[in-house]
Symmetry: C2
Subunit: 463 residues, 2 copies
Amino acid sequence: MSELLASLRAAIGEPNVLTDAIDTAPYLKDWRGRYQGEALCVVRPGTTDEAAKIVQLCAADDVAIVPQGGNTGLCGGATPCGTGEVLISLTRLNRVRAVDIDNNTITVEAGCTLHAVREAASVADRLFPLSIASEGTATIGGNLSTNAGGVQVLRYGNSRDLTLGIEAVLPNGQIWNGLRGLRKDNTGYDLKHLFIGAEGTLGLITCAVLKLFPLPRSHTTAWVAIESPAAAIALLASLRSDFGDRVTAFEIIDATALELVVRHIPGSRQPLPVIPQWQVLIELSEFSASDSDADVIKCLTHASGVQDAMLAQNETQRRALWRLREDISEAQRIEGLSIKHDVSVPVSRIDEFIHKARAELVKNFPGIRVVCFGHIGDGNLHYNLSMPSAIENVKLIERDGEVNRVVHDLVNELGGSISAEHGLGQLKRDEIKRYKSGIEIELMQCIKHALDPGGLMNPGKVL
Amino acid sequence: MSELLASLRAAIGEPNVLTDAIDTAPYLKDWRGRYQGEALCVVRPGTTDEAAKIVQLCAADDVAIVPQGGNTGLCGGATPCGTGEVLISLTRLNRVRAVDIDNNTITVEAGCTLHAVREAASVADRLFPLSIASEGTATIGGNLSTNAGGVQVLRYGNSRDLTLGIEAVLPNGQIWNGLRGLRKDNTGYDLKHLFIGAEGTLGLITCAVLKLFPLPRSHTTAWVAIESPAAAIALLASLRSDFGDRVTAFEIIDATALELVVRHIPGSRQPLPVIPQWQVLIELSEFSASDSDADVIKCLTHASGVQDAMLAQNETQRRALWRLREDISEAQRIEGLSIKHDVSVPVSRIDEFIHKARAELVKNFPGIRVVCFGHIGDGNLHYNLSMPSAIENVKLIERDGEVNRVVHDLVNELGGSISAEHGLGQLKRDEIKRYKSGIEIELMQCIKHALDPGGLMNPGKVL
């Protein structure tokens, strides 16, 4: 092992091979504090060639590799499971290689933060629409490896849909340059889709060509009290029918989620006089000079189930509404531990999921508290469970397996997914075997074995 | 072989196993008449189970399989290369299994024509945006297998982007049910993307869940004479900045293409007094009650390089403009043979491609006639070459290898693709080896070998 360390130091420079516990600590614990890993060392390549060299050296010594971006993942996908692995942190590989305005593309290295990519796009008068709460730290390599979603998937799709080409280091240390900036290219298997969402188990994404979009001139943002999730879905359909693709976000938030934000986040205020059982945060992106306020109000007035509504009158109000949505995770963290789910079902089954899940949970775990919010337009809910009393909550957390069973079985019954946007990592690696068909698991193993026969890329994750 | 035929007849019924030359002829020649194949038989399964049974029987006897949809492909991907293959025609597998309006999805079997899918969506007040000239015959299975593009990719993406889930028969005859109707599902490798665009070389797509969109209420359609391709690209940027996603089509057409249509297609008329060197057909999709005519005219008036323009005043005029675009292929067919290219480059390199390609071709093939049209907003041009004189044209066609070299080398130099939307099939299977990196070809072969170790799925195509 000391020979490998020496080779790594020779390849990328001594300061970029970390072995001291103090130096490596930030890389070895996941953001939620659920997983504590160990590693032979943490290496920080500054170029794709250096990353390839690291993989070659590890492969030659049969040493496994754990790739890591901003370390903001929620399923432990970037934390080592073993003890003697090499953790590759890609945060130094962070250049914007090119912005092509006419082609509406940006070419960025894996270690760029999502925020940096959005800023570089904005400077070029373009939008990179991926947006998640952790974007100041999360890197684009991690976003692609987990196929991150966020609040604008409704219009713009997931990370996968925003990617035209990638560069990757393969498990054998070869570099595949697939950095094509083409909207259309039908010359064989679309290999980039194998690496996107694979959580580093098939190779290391080092760079990507991403799609850019016209930058909206303004937004129409509304906070709407609504009778039920079913009414919310009907409202979404009517908004899309009237405004088409201008509807770029449609988020549902239940009363409990908003109450936690108002209670725990300093300076936050509920937007309407009363906190309703359900509310939606709606945003339209505007390209023409005029806004749609009047038309949106008309649409809301005629929609059934709308109980109250307010429109942001300026950018400050708009940001305040979005902060309420974005602070839900932090408010929950302050409140205490909870059992979290990131699930999706067909949009047409959302209402059924919400009703059946609550009924079943209340029956099995009396007094349970549900925090339910998320991207209802994509059929994606964050569905988090706890007990209001701290002592009761400890007991509930101990029964997380039983709780998961209720939620995940129902999701599966409704044709849904137990990980809509966070990936599998180590957290759901075993759980997924319960719900994916044997044929699909075999297909995944077949691909894994073909590309990474030694099983050296991020072992213990996904599969 | 007679034993296999007997088993096939037993499995799917005698009338669905065709062996008479008269019966099999329509399946064995490709649409453009370039390839004439042979087959042991043509089989027509009516269900996915029957399709799986056929694959199992063929696999047991080591007999290769050629899948075919509407047989409208342009690269010979659905015509057998060998002699003893079984051709599976999927046209009987043509039910619409489900339409889920709230989820905005439609579940259709592979043999549904694209037209039937669009109609079923329309009945549900939804848009299925894939649109190609052959949609009355082309099937959705073929569209997915070749990742078909068309005139609305600018806003809605290629077939791949419109697909949420698929069902496929694997090379070993197992059925993989990946018919999920989810916008978000990050539970491992996204296997559907392997089968989409693989031209049947990794398995048989039998069914798909496709995305639906709000149906536009109306369209704003303009025919614009424009100074140059560079001016067209600048105009597109300014339209997108003003109208965002409402810009759903942006097609360029050169003078020669339009002249051929006016000459050969009865009833067709040039829309403007003079046929300009370059023109673009622009369409905006409207969701609100009011149209954008005035705003579009304002945008065109201020854009540089716009020489003249007309807006369709009603649906009849709109259809007439689109027919001019769609009839280009037929007009060329009537005119005679030509050397066709379906290329893409980054949008920012389109102008360079058009200038350099013409200069190089004129130098090497004096008198050559260029027909250039296509989806300039996607960087995708159909670039077809012939000689005005029939005798000279025969000589040119004989030199197609040299012509391809000029066009494809330039495309490659500009970071483009030699098959933007038609696939590789048998036509470009060898040509692509010249331009794809060895590493990428090896990756493709690695996947092929892993999923289809016997090499029985559509041999001689793609790889």
